[in-house]
């Protein structure tokens, strides 16, 4: 029976591969000296294998993706993901296209991190239009619903962004983006019987939880909830009222080509919170692992970056980048290391150096990256520095008709 269970996905994969227009196989290897991106560093290595499938039927297209990530030292954070959907492209004349997509997916973690297990439903509507041969306007609206094993993380979000590109014969690129987003958490508190506890974030942080990571007790090594040493990431209360956060962002890019093979880019982004706040007591960002407490809605602030790109012989691409970011986390207080609330909002400053080398063959793509990060924070738990190293290859099997 077990063999049959293995055989079915293999046969489905082979059948799918035979019918595909495109099949992309990817293997990536990551190494970090600070998986949890905190003061106490835990190094780890992540091996990721991914298969992406695509089949077009005129304007309709079906796509699917599956990947497995294995963490060598923290295998309980390993995860398996599936994603699939359909999309439709509609051309309005020669210069404008509309795009619609509906997709669903799931992520499965091992038992200790089963609270991170989730299913996702996402709908996208987008438009791309050429205002001129060298000017593009893009608009994108996206609705997402995500349901977690731990309902505290459940959310519905809506984002809309628009971007305008303009390219000049002087090899100059200008890009500007405007974005807006709203994220709603329908179950942001742990229900308790404590009469004194008020609703939502004014309530008491939950101390200790069952089934999170290996810890149970705060500060006992790596693990969900226990990793921060604070035992909890939520508030408790007697009422389950939903809460939301609304953000807006503006960003831009100026890029200049120097000759045919060197490009310089300066980019900046600014993000504001328009209303609401985070329902969590702490926000943790893991390296290469989706932590539900951290995403684009978690912070306000700015990021500035500079990047040098060089195309060297044999079509090898080199990128050297530096990013400076300052982020504030609405609703998140800073604590000292012995667990006392400092009464100030958490603020982080991050400097990051990136180096990337990429080589593309007609069907094979290889890359290697190195990143060094220094993060300072008014919450001492999140003051850290470290590096990430990653490399990978993608093999693109294209079976469709060329135009």
């Amino acid at each position: 029976m077990k063999k049959l269970g293995l055989l079915i996905p293999i046969l489905a994969m082979m059948g799918g591969a035979a019918a595909a227009d495109t099949l992309v196989l990817t293997f990536n290897q990551y190494a970090t000296d600070n998986l949890y991106q905190m003061k106490s560093a835990f190094s780890d290595q992540i091996s990721q294998i991914d298969i992406s499938w695509d089949k077009s039927l005129k304007s309709f297209s079906f796509f699917a993706d599956a990947d497995y990530s294995y963490l060598r030292n923290t295998s309980r954070l390993s995860d398996l993901r599936f994603n699939g959907g359909a999309d439709y492209l509609y051309s309005l004349g020669q210069k404008t296209a509309l795009y619609f997509s509906l997709e669903g997916g799931a992520a499965l973690y091992r038992s200790e991190y089963k609270d991170f297990n989730h299913s996702t439903l996402r709908a996208v509507a987008a438009m791309k239009t050429y205002l001129a041969p060298t000017s593009i306007l893009k608009v994108n609206a996206q609705t997402e619903y995500r349901s977690y094993s731990l309902s505290l993380f459940d959310f519905v979000s809506q984002t809309v962004w628009a971007s305008l590109d303009k390219y000049f014969e002087t090899r100059t690129t200008l890009k500007a983006d405007l974005g807006w987003g709203y994220k709603y958490y329908p179950h942001p508190v742990v229900l308790t019987d404590a009469a004194a506890a008020g609703p939502s974030p004014t309530a008491t942080p939950v101390s200790g939880s069952s089934g999170y990571g290996n810890s149970g007790a705060p500060g006992k090594g790596p693990g969900w909830g226990g990793q921060s040493g604070r035992g909890s990431l939520f508030y408790s209360g007697t009422a389950q009222t939903g809460m939301g956060i609304q953000i807006a962002s503006v960003s831009g890019i100026i890029a200049q080509g120097i000759g045919d093979s060197i490009g310089l880019r300066i980019a900046g982004a600014r993000q504001w919170r328009l209303s609401g706040g985070s329902p969590f007591t702490s926000i943790e960002e893991y390296y290469m692992v989706d932590n539900p407490t951290y995403d684009n809605f978690s912070w306000t602030g700015y990021a500035l970056s500079g990047q040098l790109t060089a195309e060297i012989p044999w079509d090898i691409e080199l990128k050297l980048g530096y990013t400076k970011a300052e982020k504030e986390f609405p609703g998140i207080e800073s604590w000292n290391l012995d667990g006392t609330d400092l009464g100030i909002r958490r603020q982080d400053r991050r400097s990051q150096l990136d180096l990337r080398i990429e080589k593309n063959f007609s069907r094979l793509s290889l890359f290697l990256t190195y990143t060094y990060i220094k993060n300072t924070s008014n919450d001492p738990l999140f003051g850290w520095s470290g590096y990430n190293l990653s490399g990978g290859l993608s093999w693109n099997l294209f079976f469709g008709q060329s135009q």
Partner: protein, 128 residues
């Protein structure tokens, strides 16, 4: 008419038709070549940079034969949009100013995106 005369007449007829057809094709080739050269010249002066790195997307050479994609008869733009991994910007067929270059997959790269993508690169997996 003797066989000998028939062979001569036939040969001259075939040669004449051959010359006429080849000259007509040469004219077509010449026109096509001029059109192609003009198109290449136009593309050479165009600048298109959808991924905003400062390098002309039209000048890249993905099959490494020394001829930029926009002038390379050997190079076929990937129709999958994700094409060569990590090259969403290059594979979406921009640069020709009409819809011939886009496909469903070229829009998929923007799923889950918010803002310019000025990111710190350390968080969750980039493709999500």
């Amino acid at each position: 008419m003797s066989t000998k005369k028939t062979v001569w007449l036939g040969s001259i007829l075939i040669l004449g038709v051959g010359l006429f057809v080849s000259s007509a094709f040469a004219q077509v080739d010449k026109n096509a070549l001029q059109t192609r050269t003009r198109a290449q010249e136009r593309v050479r002066t165009m600048f298109f940079d959808e991924n905003g790195d400062g390098i002309n997307d039209l000048n890249r050479d993905h099959d490494n034969d020394g001829i930029p994609n926009c002038q390379d008869p050997d190079w076929k733009r990937p129709q999958d949009g994700s094409g060569y991994k990590n090259q969403f910007g290059k594979a979406n067929g921009g640069g020709n100013g009409n819809h011939a270059g886009w496909n469903n997959a070229s829009f998929r790269g923007s799923r889950g995106r918010f803002g310019t993508g000025v990111c710190d690169g350390t968080g969750p997996k980039g493709k999500r």
